[in-house]
């Protein structure tokens, strides 16, 4: 029995075959307008990341103006904690590095960094680095490679990488590398495509991609592509649109993008659109959300889709924003 096929997803004839940009614009514009929605009602705490997903997706489609800029900037301002300098996911919530990075990405897209206390953000990020170089997500202290990435992503956008001990930070990320070339959330953890993206992105920003076992890792990454064309995040798991981004962007930074079958992946991503509501879901036929919508569009952009703006593989932001900031994250040829 070809058992691994059981885990696969087959697109039937009813799934979309074209990119439905207009549908996605209205999906993102209207998302959250219906506050009776149970899921929306209980997800206040990650509103800041939601704004980043929606805004970046709209910008990639050339529709940045669809969302109210001043309202969003004001929201970010209100979420900054005057004491620690960190930014929270929503008003009343505690600051966290995950939301701080989203807020800085949003403000960079709008070119409105002046709206907040930037020195406060730098102080906050600096305060979260531990002696071994790792970062915690907030003052309570769990360590995770995601937070190392968030820290350097934030500081590089603010041009203040000097605020932290970069060498130590690199040492920690290196200690999370596994025999397969991949990375997990902390030392000894299993390799996971999402965390590999964080670590490769971290090394791209710190210009230290040299420590990666390039082909070992690229091999593992390209084995994530399944016969359906979709990519999974770990062996024998289901394909998911968000891994299209994490795997593809990592391969792009490693200069091995051509190890993926673009046509098959594109077909899979396009089949994850909802032709009625708009938006992308994890797999064909599931409920769509802004998170999968951004990563679906970003992956299509990385594969050169002409209807979308070019995306930067390290920052997951439009390339033009990165160019304007004169940032040059490392990319291997």
């Amino acid at each position: 029995m070809a058992t691994s096929m059981v885990n696969e997803v087959k697109g039937d004839d009813s799934v979309p075959k074209e990119l439905l940009l207009e549908k996605h614009v209205s999906f993102l514009r209207e998302y959250g307008q219906n506050e009776d929605n149970f899921e929306y009602g209980i997800t206040d705490y990650l509103r800041m990341s939601g704004v980043y997903w929606g805004l970046t997706a709209l910008d990639l489609m050339g529709k940045l103006k669809e969302l109210p800029e001043n309202e969003i900037v004001e929201f970010v301002q209100k979420c900054q904690d005057p004491e620690s300098g960190g930014i929270s996911g929503c008003i009343n919530h505690d600051p966290h590095l995950l939301h701080t990075v989203s807020a800085i990405q949003v403000l960079c897209i709008y070119d409105r960094l002046d709206a907040i206390n930037v020195e406060g953000v730098i102080k906050y990020v600096k305060s979260l680095q531990k002696d071994d170089g790792s970062f915690t997500g907030d003052k309570w202290g769990e360590v995770d490679t995601r937070f190392s990435f968030c820290a350097v992503l934030t500081l590089s956008l603010l041009k203040r990488m000097d605020a932290i001990d970069v060498d130590k930070a690199v040492e920690f990320v290196e200690s999370c590398m596994n025999f397969d070339g991949g990375f997990g959330s902390r030392p000894l953890s299993e390799s996971h495509a999402g965390l590999i993206y964080c670590c490769v992105g971290f090394l791209s920003i710190t210009q230290r991609l040299d420590i990666i076992k390039r082909d070992t890792l690229a091999w593992w990454l390209c084995e994530r592509q399944l016969p359906s064309g979709g990519l999974n995040g770990r062996p024998e798991k289901l394909p998911d649109v968000c891994y299209s981004w994490w795997v593809l962007s990592s391969l792009s930074m490693l200069g091995r993008l051509h190890w993926i079958d673009f046509a098959a992946l594109e077909k899979f991503i396009v089949s994850c659109q909802d032709s009625e509501t708009g938006g992308f879901s994890d797999r064909p036929g599931d409920i769509t959300d802004p998170y999968h919508t951004l990563f679906g569009l970003a992956a299509l952009s990385l594969m050169g889709n002409g209807a979308l703006k070019r995306v930067n593989p390290t920052y997951c932001m439009p390339q033009e924003v990165i160019d304007k900031l004169e940032l040059k994250p490392q990319i291997l040829n």
Binding site: F38, N92, S185, S189
Partner: protein, 376 residues
């Protein structure tokens, strides 16, 4: 039922009453209530099963209400009231970091009881077994009470039920690794042998879960720093002799055991599983890396017979005696163990594969050549 604040308070009190009074409460869930009559209580509690359910129609309202109250009560002195709101809000959505943080503040101020909090976070995990926050909170509690006082049987029982019900649960297995590193290896003498047995049983019954394989790989890797009592039993199983080896090399016996006992069984009984092929990669890669790293003159390098073949580590021992402190690639390749490993993989790959294994074996052969540098 008209859901005004008074009504929500009533539901809230009742849920909290159950959570507080039932010391053995084990299960929480939200019950989908499409078309259900809203004039009956949304709480479904089965005492015999220590299980509590809440209808979804009121969950959103209850969460919104509790959230408002939490922000209102956060800075006040009435901690019990605050905690009642936290319990409800976190049961409905355990991913809200801020609410766990408030619990951490209460815990730090000794305003919450650690064992009650362990029970509560377990209840949350019964409903959301992938909650990163709930595992983090448990670790915060163990740090507070001291790792030595952790009840590993309880933790093991929790992880067993969680991992049984949610395949490839990344956070749960990370939690087990944390327990292994911070508790088992530190406070238990038989941790290594027990976890080796446990993980072997686990992978044999969950062949498509790479996460379980990763855990076993981690346990095997831990042999580098700890002596395993049963190493002779393993070496007898594969070599028909005592190992008499040092801790530095005992990992080799385990890897040979893996290559000759565990993997053939798995490949045979469960064809087409990528996770098994990845495990094979780990075993071969680690053996190869270990051979490359041997660099000290070591009288204790095992010189065992292996499936009737010549002495495996002969070459290693010879070069060491010659005073070569660092085995170069070429010398390593002249060792019998290396030759035997290559031969083993060649014979294995020359076998008859069907369906998905045809593709997987082709990928594996290419990986051996391009990544490890073993041409078969």
């Amino acid at each position: 039922m008209d859901c005004d604040n008074e009504m929500l308070e009533k539901i809230l009190k009742k849920v909290n009453g159950v959570v507080k009074e039932d010391n053995e409460i084990r299960e929480f869930t939200l019950i989908p209530s499409v078309g259900k009559d809203r004039n009956v209580s949304p709480i479904n509690y089965v005492w015999e099963e220590h299980a509590l359910g809440l209808e979804t129609w009121c969950a959103g309202l209850l969460f919104g209400y509790a959230q408002k109250q939490i922000f209102k009560w956060r800075c006040r002195k009435d901690h019990d009231t605050l905690n009642d709101y936290l319990v409800i809000a976190l049961l409905i959505n355990p991913e809200v970091r801020t609410f766990w943080n408030i619990k951490r503040e209460l815990l730090d101020g000794n305003l919450l009881d650690c064992s009650t909090e362990l029970r509560f976070s377990r209840l949350v995990l019964s409903w959301k077994p992938k909650s990163y926050e709930a595992y983090s909170y448990r670790i915060a509690i163990f740090k507070k009470i001291g790792h030595a006082k952790m009840d590993f049987r309880e933790e093991s029982d929790l992880l067993d039920s969680v991992t049984r019900n949610t395949p490839n649960n990344y956070h749960a297995w990370n939690h087990r690794i944390w327990c292994f590193e911070n508790y088992m290896l530190v406070y238990e003498t038989d941790a290594l042998s027990r976890e080796l047995r446990f993980s072997e049983d686990w992978i044999k019954t969950h062949v498509s879960e790479h996460t379980g394989f990763h855990y076993r790989q981690h346990v095997i890797d831990s042999l580098k720093g700890h002596k395993l009592k049963e190493i002779d039993e393993y070496s007898k199983l594969v070599l028909n002799c005592d190992s008499g080896c040092t801790a530095q090399h005992q990992i080799l016996y385990l890897l040979i055991y893996e290559l000759h006992k565990v993997l053939p069984d798995l490949h045979h009984h469960f064809p087409g599983h990528e996770s098994i092929w990845y495990h094979r990669k780990y075993v071969v890669h680690t053996m190869h890396a270990h051979l490359c790293q041997i660099h000290s003159v070591d009288r204790d390098i095992p010189q065992f017979e292996f499936n009737g073949a010549a002495k495996l580590l002969d070459g290693v021992a010879r070069s060491c005696r010659n005073g070569v402190r660092c085995l170069k690639e070429e010398q390593m390749q002249s060792t019998n163990l290396y030759k035997r490993l290559v031969l083993n993989e060649r014979e294995f790959l020359d076998g008859d594969f069907k369906d998905e294994d045809v593709r997987l074996s082709r990928n594996y052969r290419m990986w051996l050549r391009c990544i490890v540098g073993i041409i078969v």
